[in-house]
């Protein structure tokens, strides 16, 4: 069955995806990012077996973070960051951008969603996603 989605519902994710894609293209060209990247800032790299996604999530409690795989080539991260400094304070600097966040990231290749691992260490999340068998490079034997 074909489902029709309310047109504005997915706009945030689409804008983020476009932003991500532009940043990726710009950074590939070797320039500094023109605009600050979406939260969380992320590095993605790939080896023969896995896709690795590393995200900076300072102040996010593991229990307040949701990681979802959408299909087999898209990752969704969402969660909350709170200050909790109390109300009776005088502000001198307010640089931390704390709010709820949601980011959808395209992955370079299809991954096996059943064997994903995630580790959280000092506010950095590392997700290891094994490539699907058909996405792995195969050596082609040349017949002479």
């Amino acid at each position: 069955m074909k489902t029709t989605r309310w047109p504005f519902e997915s706009m945030g994710a689409d804008v983020n995806r476009l932003h991500d894609e532009m940043n990726r293209l710009i950074s590939r060209c070797g320039f500094d990012l023109v605009t600050p990247p979406a939260f969380p800032r992320s590095n993605v790299w790939v080896d023969a077996e896995n896709v690795y996604v590393e995200c900076e999530l300072p102040g996010v409690k593991p229990e307040e973070l949701d990681i979802e795989l959408l299909g087999d080539q898209e990752l969704l991260l969402k969660g909350n960051r709170e200050r909790g400094y109390g109300e009776e304070v005088v502000w001198h600097k307010r640089e931390r951008n704390l709010r709820s966040f949601e980011r959808t990231m395209e992955l370079p290749v299809a991954v096996d969603g059943d064997h994903v691992k995630a580790e959280f260490n000092h506010g950095v999340l590392l997700i290891t996603l094994p490539k699907r068998a058909e996405a792995k490079a195969r050596k082609i034997v040349i017949k002479s």
């Binding site: 991500d20 590095n43 790299w45 005088v90 990231m105 260490n121």
Partner: protein
Amino acid sequence: MTTSTCCENQGHKSGSCKTSSAKVTYRPVIDVVETADAYRVIAEIPGVGPENLEVQFERGELTIFGQVASAERSAEPWRKEFVRGDFRRVLAIQDEIDADGIVAELKFGVLNVLLPKAKAVRPRKIQIRVG
């Protein structure tokens, strides 16, 4: 007391700190709040463990710094939005601080430094005697 009780200091005073010549990769973002009894400095330093972090307070200046080796990966990044590296941030607090009472806590990549004000600068409630 002036209106600005804490201000940024680039920490470039010659010879004031032995790490001033170190390569600085980034300046952590911070919040600074003040209550009647203390200042709190909250710095985002994701990926930094206590072994790579130093917090100093000297002559009214709080310095947060560390050296973290950047991760060498054999694979080429497909997306790269942040780097690991050295960091440093210096902040001058103009109120007198009880240096022995400073407490620093690192949790989920966020450093929280509590700097209690010296008793002399804390507001005191004056008891009123009834004559």
